[in-house]
C-alpha cells in the first residue's frame, strides 16, 4: 500500500471532507498564507506545518480563511459558525496557544449543548500541534491534552500515526461535538500505509497495536512509537506486551485496558504530559477503581517530570520519556513483580 506522512494524511482528510460537505470551512493563521504579500502568491504556507496546503486553490477564500493573530476570535468565530450550521476546522497552530483562547474552548464550545438543554450542537474541530522534541521551548512544546480531557463536552483525539490521523480526522469533522485534535509535531513527517479513499475510525476504541502476555502498555501519541521500540528490544528477552493506543482520550476506551490487564496483570502508562492530573494519572485512577483485582504489581506511570519543557537539547532529551526509559521501566516492573511473588 501507498505510504504517506501524517501531515499529508490529515491534509487528505481535509480535502476529502471539504469536497464532500460544503459546510466544512477551515480557518486560522496562515492556513493558506500570502494574503497581502508582495509576491502575489497565495497558499504561500498552507499552514505553518503545511497541513492545509492546497485547500485555498481548490475551495476558495470563502471556505479557507486566513485570519489575523487573534486566537480568541478564531475559536469564537468557529463556535459561532458551527451554531449557525457550518462545520469549521480551526487551526490553532501550537496547542500552547490554547492559553489565549481558553474561554471559547471550555466555557463556550464545551458547554453549549448542555447549557442549551441538548437543543444545539457545536461541531467544530480545533487542530493543534502538540509535544516536545524539537527544542521549541516552554511555550511551544507542551502536551495540553489532559487539560481539555477534563472538560465535559469536549472530545479529544491524539493520533499516533498517519493512518489513524486520517480516519480520526474524518470522524472528527463529522462528529457533532467539539473535538480537539492534537497533532504531534515530530509525527508530521512520519509515514505509514494510508488508503486513498474515505474511511473513518470510531472514537472511544483503542487500537491494540501489539499483542503480548507479560504487560499492558498504554501509550499516547508519539509515545506509541517509542513504546514499540522498547518492546522490540524486550522481545529479545522474551518479554511481550499488549500495546494499547487509546487514540481518543475523550471518550476513553477503558474497557479494553481492563480486558488486557485480565491477562497481563501489569500496567505501564506512557504519557508525554507532566505527571500531575495527567491522562496517565486518570487511567491509573480508573484502573485502581475498576480493575484493581487484575493488578499483580503497582501501576507504573512514565511521564516527564513536573517541570515546564526545557529548551536545551540535553534537557529536553532528559525530559521526554524515550524508548530506553520505557524499556528500563518495564524490566524493573517485571523484575520487582517476580521477586514479590
Amino acid at each position: 500500500m501507498r505510504q504517506i506522512s501524517m501531515r499529508d494524511a490529515i491534509n487528505e482528510a481535509l480535502h476529502l471532507e471539504m469536497a464532500r460537505d460544503p459546510r466544512v470551512i477551515v480557518l486560522g493563521e496562515d492556513v493558506s498564507g500570502g494574503a497581502g504579500g508582495t509576491s502575489g502568491q497565495r497558499d504561500a504556507a498552507g499552514g505553518v506545518f503545511g497541513v492545509t496546503k492546497g485547500l485555498l486553490p481548490k475551495f476558495g477564500e470563502d471556505r479557507v480563511i486566513d485570519t489575523p493573530i487573534s486566537e480568541s476570535a478564531i475559536i469564537g468565530a468557529a463556535n459561532g459558525a458551527a451554531l449557525a450550521g457550518l462545520r469549521p476546522v480551526a487551526e490553532l497552530m501550537f496547542a500552547d496557544f490554547l492559553g489565549v483562547c481558553f474561554d471559547q474552548v471550555f466555557n463556550q464550545a464545551a458547554k453549549f449543548r448542555y447549557m442549551f438543554g441538548g437543543k444545539t450542537s457545536c461541531p467544530i474541530v480545533i487542530r493543534a500541534a502538540t509535544g516536545a522534541g524539537m527544542n521549541m521551548g516552554a511555550q511551544h512544546s507542551q502536551s495540553m491534552y489532559a487539560m481539555v480531557t477534563g472538560v465535559p463536552g469536549l472530545k479529544v483525539v491524539v493520533p499516533s500515526n498517519a493512518y489513524d490521523a486520517k480516519g480520526l480526522m474524518l470522524t472528527a469533522i463529522r462528529d457533532d461535538d467539539p473535538v480537539i485534535f492534537f497533532e504531534h509535531k515530530a509525527l508530521y513527517p512520519r509515514k505509514s500505509d494510508v488508503p486513498e479513499g474515505d474511511y473513518t475510525l470510531p472514537f472511544g476504541e483503542a487500537n491494540l497495536v501489539r499483542e503480548g502476555e507479560h504487560v499492558t502498555v498504554v501509550a499516547i501519541g508519539r509515545m506509541v512509537s517509542f513504546a514499540e521500540k522498547a518492546l522490540d528490544a524486550l522481545a529479545a528477552d522474551g518479554i511481550t506486551a499488549d500495546l494499547l493506543d487509546p487514540r481518543t482520550l475523550s471518550p476513553l476506551d477503558d474497557e479494553t485496558i481492563y480486558e488486557s490487564l485480565d491477562n497481563t496483570g501489569h500496567l505501564v502508562i506512557i504519557d508525554e504530559s507532566p505527571p500531575r492530573c495527567s491522562v496517565a494519572a486518570d487511567i491509573a485512577g480508573l484502573v485502581a477503581s475498576n480493575a484493581f483485582h487484575s493488578l499483580k504489581a503497582p501501576i507504573v506511570q512514565l511521564t516527564p517530570p513536573h517541570t515546564p519543557v526545557p529548551f536545551a537539547r540535553e534537557l529536553e532529551r532528559a525530559y521526554v520519556p524515550g524508548p530506553q526509559a520505557i524499556e528500563a521501566a518495564i524490566r524493573k516492573m517485571l523484575k520487582e513483580s517476580r521477586a514479590a511473588s
Binding site: 493573530i69 526545557p310 529548551f311 536545551a312
Partner: protein
C-alpha cells in the same frame, strides 16, 4: 540639533552589534548546532536602539519572539545571550529558555515572549509599578504589526489609558506576520490610529532611521514620564530574513529583501547622516565595526565550546522551593 557624541557612538555600536549578532546566527544556524527555531531581527535595529537609548535599567521593556535586538539594546550581556541561544548551562537563562525566552530583570528586560500579545499586559503591570514608585520610570511593550490584532494587546492598551500608566506601546510594522501581509491582516492598516482610538497619543515614524525613532520616542516619553499616561509608536520597518530561519518567503516579491537591504538599511542610513552632518568620522565607525566583529566571533566561539546543562538542572527553578 546634534545628539551627544557618546550617544551617537553607542547607538551605532548597539545597532551594529544587533546586526552582526543576527547575521552571524543566520550562518551558524545552517550548521545545525543551534537548537530550536530562531527569529532574526536584522533590518529593525534602529527601532530597538532608537527606543532603548532613552531607557535606563530602571525602565522596563517587554519583548517578543523576535527579541534578540531588544535584549541587546536594553543592555543584556551579548555573550550570555549567545550561550542561551546555543542552549548552554551558563546562558542568561541557564539554557532553559532559549532564543524566545531571553530575560534579564537586572537590565529591566522582562523577557522575550513566544506568545504573540503576551508582552503588552505584562508591560502595563510594570508600568503600574513605575507609577506607584513615582520615579518617572516607564515600561515599553514591543510588538509587531501582527500583534496589533491580538485581543490581549487591546486590553493592555485600554487598561493603560484607564490607569494613566506610563507605558509606551511600540509596534514594529515590518509588513508581515509570518506569511501574511499587514495590508491584509491589520484592518484599517493604521495601528497608530487604533491607539488614538483608545485615547492615547500616537506617532508613526520611519523605523529605518534611528533619528526618526529617537525623536518620536523622546516626544512620547515626555508625557509618559510626567504622568500623562501611555502612548503608542508605530515604526515602519522591514525584516531582512524570513519569519524564522528556514522560511522560504514565498509571500515576498523575489527582489524585496535585496531592495530593502539597499534602501532601508538603518546602519547605512545612520552612517550617511552622521557623515553628512559631520557629527562622526567614518574611521570611528569602522573601529566600532571591528570591535563588534571581535565580540561576536568570541561569543560564538565560547558558546560552541561551552558545556550544556546537566540532567539534574532539569528539576530546578520550577518553584522557589518545593
Amino acid at each position: 540639533m546634534s545628539l551627544p557624541r557618546d550617544l551617537l557612538l553607542r547607538a551605532y555600536r548597539q545597532m551594529k552589534t544587533i546586526r552582526e549578532f543576527e547575521e552571524r546566527l543566520h550562518v551558524e544556524i545552517q550548521t545545525g548546532e543551534i537548537p530550536g527555531f530562531t527569529h532574526l531581527y536584522s533590518g529593525q535595529e534602529a527601532v530597538a536602539v532608537g527606543v532603548c537609548e532613552h531607557l535606563s535599567d530602571q525602565d522596563w521593556i517587554a519583548s517578543t519572539h523576535r527579541g534578540h535586538g531588544h535584549c541587546i539594546a536594553k543592555g543584556c550581556d551579548v555573550q550570555g545571550m549567545m550561550l542561551e541561544i546555543y542552549g548552554r548551562r551558563d546562558g542568561l537563562c541557564k539554557g532553559k529558555g532559549g532564543s524566545m525566552h531571553i530575560a534579564d530583570m537586572t537590565k529591566g528586560m522582562l523577557g522575550a515572549n513566544a506568545i504573540v500579545g503576551g508582552g503588552p499586559p505584562i508591560a502595563v503591570g510594570a508600568g503600574i509599578a513605575c507609577k506607584i514608585a513615582k520615579c518617572g520610570n516607564v515600561a515599553v511593550a514591543f510588538g509587531g504589526d501582527g500583534s496589533a490584532n491580538q485581543g490581549t494587546v487591546f486590553e493592555a492598551m485600554n487598561l493603560a489609558v484607564v490607569l494613566r500608566a506610563p507605558v509606551i506601546f511600540v509596534f514594529e510594522n515590518n509588513g508581515y506576520s509570518e506569511h501574511t501581509g499587514a495590508s491584509y491582516a491589520v484592518g484599517s492598516g493604521d495601528i497608530a490610529g487604533r491607539a488614538r482610538g483608545f485615547g492615547m497619543p500616537a506617532e508613526t515614524c520611519d523605523g529605518s532611521d534611528f533619528f526618526a525613532v529617537y525623536d518620536a520616542m523622546a516626544k512620547l516619553l515626555k508625557t509618559a514620564r510626567a504622568g500623562g499616561g501611555p502612548a503608542t509608536l508605530e515604526a515602519k520597518t522591514t525584516r531582512f530574513f524570513g519569519h524564522f530561519e528556514g522560511d522560504p518567503m514565498l509571500y515576498r516579491a523575489k527582489d524585496e529583501v535585496a531592495r530593502h537591504r539597499e534602501q532601508m538599511d538603518c546602519l547605512q542610513i545612520f552612517r550617511d547622516r552622521v557623515g553628512k552632518e559631520g557629527w562622526l568620522q567614518s574611521a570611528e565607525l569602522d573601529a566600532i565595526d571591528t570591535d563588534v566583529m571581535a565580540l561576536i566571533d568570541s561569543s560564538v566561539a565560547k558558546s560552541r565550546a561551552a558545556v550544556p546543562p546537566s540532567a539534574s538542572d532539569l528539576l530546578t527553578d520550577v518553584y522557589v522551593s518545593y
